[in-house]
Symmetry: C3
Subunit: 154 residues, 3 copies
């Protein structure tokens, strides 16, 4: 078993099914030693796992958990595309787009659910640059979608 | 005529004038074998082609068409910058930012207008990673703006 | 003194303290000759310098100034990470996410505050590809956050 998958198992985590993309696009696009990852919500195949507006329908803790589940969805797509998660050698940058109520401005506390999990699994190689803008009405009414760029080995 | 331009002609499509950037920035920035493309709406020179909020002023089909026209605007900028569209060898990633009504969550169906056209023209080399977040009030009140990164040859 | 720092001094500008990131992420992530820069508002350490909604609490000129200050915050993070700002050889792309009132659509005029300053300092090497989407409720209630990718030398 690969080192990263052993780490995921040690943490007691299970990966969902890879997202079924709702259109003509790739979940992960590999080019020039990088993998460009599409925006992912917390999703299991085509089943959305968390919906709602942070600060209205969802607490900040529930938003954090949705971002953590989105990280697992991204990892599932990476495994599906790359075969071996050990090929992901470094997390470069991510954007977490947060759907929130007008007076909610704790975007960072939501997207930390993604960043914390990636670093739990990959260690320092998981530490990335990040933006956490608010978004308008989100795809599928999810509280957060996250895209990323990672470095990969052959 | 280049292969891609012949394909555009075969599809009965015409490119608009390249966007006049409303500020000190580049439509397309070439570096290290990649071209970084600025956010484009459906625009012809400085004439915005579609305005409004999807799900309020515009139907999802009109949003799809706006994303398709934004793809043509991007292609016009690439032609202007690169000279020959055959130099675009692969579409790596795109973000389509959708301006929509609060209860509209079919972002993917809007941005598909972009992705479908790029794949119609470039085939599998056009298939990219993608995010389709909602945006707040958009530049120029357009329903969608799209930015992208593509791989290019010398 | 490095050429870029001399230029910053000539322009009478002073850099704020580098942003304290509100989570497990890097302000600047260097990989493969590029630096991926996290989303920055106008901030001095952990003190937010400008808050509010453009077109409601802030004029477009105040939004422009906030984007200009965000550029200085980014430069402070680059200096902290890279040591010498002359290592930034080219600005490739930036996204400025604008928090605005529903009827405000002059996003470009806000994000120009960033682009104009980068070009004042770096000259043509500062001219980048750019997107200026509207964002939903922003982190820390700031009017604009900006992320970027730059090319660097060893």
């Amino acid at each position: 078993m690969s080192r990263i998958e052993a780490r995921i198992e040690d943490l007691g985590l299970a990966l969902p099914a890879p997202m079924l993309p709702p259109g003509n696009f790739k979940l992960v696009n590999v080019y020039g030693g990088l993998a460009y990852i599409s925006g992912h919500p917390a999703i299991d195949g085509s089943t959305v796992l968390v919906q709602g507006v942070v600060g209205r329908d969802l607490t900040v803790e529930e938003g954090y958990e949705a971002a953590r589940l989105a990280a697992l969805s991204i990892i599932a797509s990476l495994k599906h595309e790359l075969g071996d998660l050990d090929r992901v050698t470094s997390w470069l940058r991510a954007v977490g787009y947060v759907q929130s109520a007008p007076e909610f401005h704790d975007n960072a506390k939501v997207v930390n659910g993604f960043s914390d999990l990636i670093i739990e699994i990959w260690g320092e190689a998981g530490r990335h640059a990040r933006s956490a803008p608010g978004q308008g009405p989100s795809p599928l009414d999810v509280p957060v979608i996250i895209d990323a760029i990672v470095a990969i080995s052959e």
